[in-house]
C-alpha cells in the first residue's frame, strides 16, 4: 500500500509489520494510524541490525511532521500566541531564565525547547547538585546563577506537579547570558567567571562553554 502524502487523524497508514510508528502516529489493532494532520514521511531506519548475517532489516519509520511554527513570539510578547505547542521531554535542551534563588535550588522558567520557542513558559527547577558534575558538595547556588540569567540546560525529569527538573552538569551547559550588578551584559572568561566589559569586575557564574 502506498503511503498518502498528507494524512488526517484516523487515517490508515500501514501495517506494523511493514512500518514502525514514529511521531504523530498511533497503533490500533496492529495497524498504524495518523494521529495529527500533516505530511507523511517514511524514513528508512538508520540503525541497521548489528548482526551482518541476519537479513532482518528494520522497517521504515513513518512519522507526521507538525507544521512549522513562526519564530516571532506573537504580537503581545511571550505567552500571547505564536510559538509552538511543544512540551519539555527528558533530555531535551532548553533555554531558561532564572527567576528565583533558593538555598537548595534555583527556580527558572523554560522559554525555548530544542530551538523552538514555547507558547507559554514552563516552570523549572535547577537543584544544587545538578548544577555541575564535579565537587557537588561545594556548589553554592549564589555563586552559580543570579536572577535574570539566561541558562542553557537539559531536562532530566518531568518532576512533580509543578516543576520540570533541569540540569546544567556538562561543559556546554550553564549561563549563556548574564548582566553585571551595574546592568551591563558580561562575557565569560572561564567556566566559573563572567566579567563586566567596562568596570572589569568579575562575577562568579556556572558558565556554559561557548560553541
Amino acid at each position: 500500500m502506498a503511503l498518502p502524502s498528507t494524512a488526517l487523524p484516523g487515517q490508515l497508514l500501514g501495517h506494523t509489520d511493514k512500518y514502525l510508528p514514529g511521531p504523530g502516529t498511533h497503533i490500533h489493532e496492529s495497524q498504524i494510524y495518523a494521529s495529527i494532520a500533516g505530511p507523511v514521511f517514511s524514513s528508512p531506519s538508520s540503525q541497521s541490525s548489528s548482526k551482518g548475517t541476519s537479513k532482518s532489516k528494520l522497517a521504515p519509520l513513518i512519522s507526521i511532521t507538525r507544521p512549522p511554527t513562526s519564530t516571532d513570539p506573537g504580537i503581545l510578547g511571550t505567552n500571547s500566541g505564536g510559538g509552538g505547542t511543544i512540551l519539555p521531554t527528558v533530555s531535551s535542551t532548553v533555554l531558561a531564565r532564572i527567576t528565583r534563588l533558593g538555598p537548595r535550588f534555583a527556580s527558572c522558567e523554560i522559554l525555548v525547547i530544542n530551538n523552538e520557542v514555547c507558547r507559554e513558559a514552563f516552570q523549572g527547577q535547577i537543584r544544587r547538585e545538578d548544577i555541575r558534575a564535579t565537587e557537588k558538595d561545594k556548589i553554592r547556588i549564589e555563586e552559580s546563577f543570579r536572577v535574570g540569567d539566561l541558562v542553557r540546560g537539559t531536562v532530566i525529569s518531568l518532576g512533580d506537579s509543578g516543576n520540570y527538573y533541569v540540569a546544567t552538569d556538562s561543559n556546554e551547559l550553564g549561563v549563556v547570558m548574564a548582566r553585571s550588578g551595574e546592568g551591563r551584559l558580561m562575557f565569560p572568561v572561564s567556566w566559573r567567571e563572567f566579567r563586566d566589559p567596562v568596570s572589569g569586575v568579575a562575577e562568579p557564574r556556572k558558565a556554559a562553554k561557548p560553541f
Binding site: 484516523g10 494521529s35 494532520a37 507544521p67
Partner: protein
C-alpha cells in the same frame, strides 16, 4: 439572570425584529410564513467551515450552517435560524501551580451561547443548558484525544455559539408555545459543537485517535400524509421546518473506527432506536466529508506557505463542498 450584578444587562426578551400584531392575530397569514423542508430526507444543509481563524489560539475553527429556507419579503423575521459556532483551543499549556500532578492531558470544555444567539436573550453567566452541553462535548472529545502524549498539561476548548438552532418555528412559540423549551435545537447545536471542536483540535495539532463528527437524525410526523400517525426519519433536521418532532438523536461518531463517543437521544423513539442512531451516524459522515476537505485545504496552505516562505496569510481557495447526504 437576576444574579448577574456585574454587568450592564440588556433588557430581557427578544433579539430579533419585533413581531407585529397582524401576524399573530391573522393565523392564515401566519401559516403562510411557515417554512417547510425543501431538501430530501437524507440531504444535509450546506456547511461552511474554516480553521485557523483566531491567531492567538493554538487552534480554532468556525462553522456555519446557513439557513436553508429563503427569506420571504413579507416579513423581517427570518423563517429559520442559522447555526454559527466558533471554537478555540488554548493549550496544551502547563497546569496551574495549584493543580495536582496529571500524567495525561486535562481537558476542559466551555460552551457558551452569545447573549444574542437565540431569539430570547441569553445571560452572560453560563446557565444549566450551556453547562450540560459542555459536559456532552467533553465526553465526545475525551474519547478521541490521546492524552498520554501530553503529560502535565491542560487544554481548554472554548466554544461560543454565535447563533443557535431554535427549538421550533417562531410562529408556533408566539401562538401556542408547543415547541418552546423542548430542546430540539440543542441537539443540532451539540452536533455543530462536536464538529467544530474536532476541527479546531486537529488544527491545534493535538494527537487524536480519529476525527469525531457530530450528526443529528430525527423522526417527524409527515405533514403531507393523511394518516396522522405516519412518521418519517430525516437527517439533519431543522426544527423550525417541522410542525412536530417526535424524537431526535445526536451522536459523536468516529468514522474510520466506527465508534460512537457521545450519544444523546430525546423523545419517543419507538421500537427501533438503532435506525435513528444509524441515521445520525450517516449525518455525521456527511459533516466529516466537509471537515476533511477543509483540513486538507488548510494543511496545503500551511505547508505551502512554509516552502514559499512569504505567504504568511492563509489563503483558501473559495469553493464550496457540495453536500450530498450520507445515506
Amino acid at each position: 439572570m437576576n444574579t448577574d450584578r456585574r454587568r450592564n444587562n440588556a433588557p430581557n426578551g427578544g433579539t430579533s425584529a419585533p413581531v407585529f400584531a397582524r401576524t399573530i392575530r391573522d393565523s392564515e397569514y401566519l401559516e403562510k410564513l411557515r417554512p417547510s423542508r425543501s431538501r430530501g430526507p437524507n440531504e444535509l444543509r450546506r456547511i461552511f467551515l474554516q480553521t485557523s481563524i483566531i491567531p492567538s489560539a493554538s487552534g480554532s475553527a468556525y462553522l456555519e450552517i446557513p439557513s436553508s429556507s429563503s427569506a420571504t419579503s413579507s416579513t423581517l423575521i427570518p423563517p429559520t435560524s442559522c447555526l454559527k459556532i466558533t471554537a478555540s483551543i488554548q493549550g496544551p499549556k502547563p497546569l496551574p501551580r495549584s493543580a495536582p500532578f496529571s500524567p495525561s492531558l486535562l481537558l476542559t470544555t466551555t460552551v457558551k451561547f452569545a447573549p444574542f444567539a437565540t431569539r430570547s436573550r441569553r445571560g452572560y453567566i453560563r446557565d444549566s443548558a450551556e453547562r450540560d452541553l459542555g459536559v456532552h462535548l467533553e465526553t465526545a472529545l475525551r474519547g478521541v484525544i490521546i492524552g498520554e502524549r501530553w503529560p502535565k498539561s491542560g487544554v481548554e476548548v472554548v466554544v461560543t455559539i454565535l447563533e443557535g438552532d431554535e427549538d421550533g418555528w417562531w410562529g408556533d412559540s408566539a401562538s401556542e408555545g408547543s415547541a418552546a423549551g423542548s430542546g430540539w435545537g440543542l441537539l443540532n447545536v451539540l452536533a455543530g459543537c462536536i464538529t467544530v471542536a474536532s476541527a479546531a483540535i486537529t488544527d491545534a495539532g493535538i494527537d487524536c485517535v480519529d476525527m469525531v463528527c457530530g450528526g443529528v437524525a430525527a423522526i417527524t410526523r409527515n405533514p403531507e400524509s393523511r394518516h396522522e400517525k405516519e412518521l418519517v426519519r430525516i437527517l439533519d433536521p431543522c426544527p423550525a421546518e417541522h410542525k412536530e418532532v417526535v424524537a431526535a438523536c445526536v451522536v459523536g461518531y468516529l468514522a474510520s473506527r466506527d465508534e460512537i463517543t457521545e450519544i444523546w437521544m430525546k423523545g419517543d423513539v419507538g421500537a427501533d432506536p438503532d435506525a435513528l442512531i444509524e441515521g445520525a451516524t450517516h449525518a455525521a459522515m456527511g459533516s466529516l466529508a466537509v471537515v476533511k476537505e477543509v483540513l486538507l485545504e488548510a494543511l496545503e496552505a500551511k505547508f505551502h506557505g512554509q516552502t514559499e516562505g512569504n505567504d504568511a496569510g492563509l489563503k483558501r481557495k473559495a469553493h464550496d463542498v457540495e453536500m450530498t447526504g450520507g445515506a
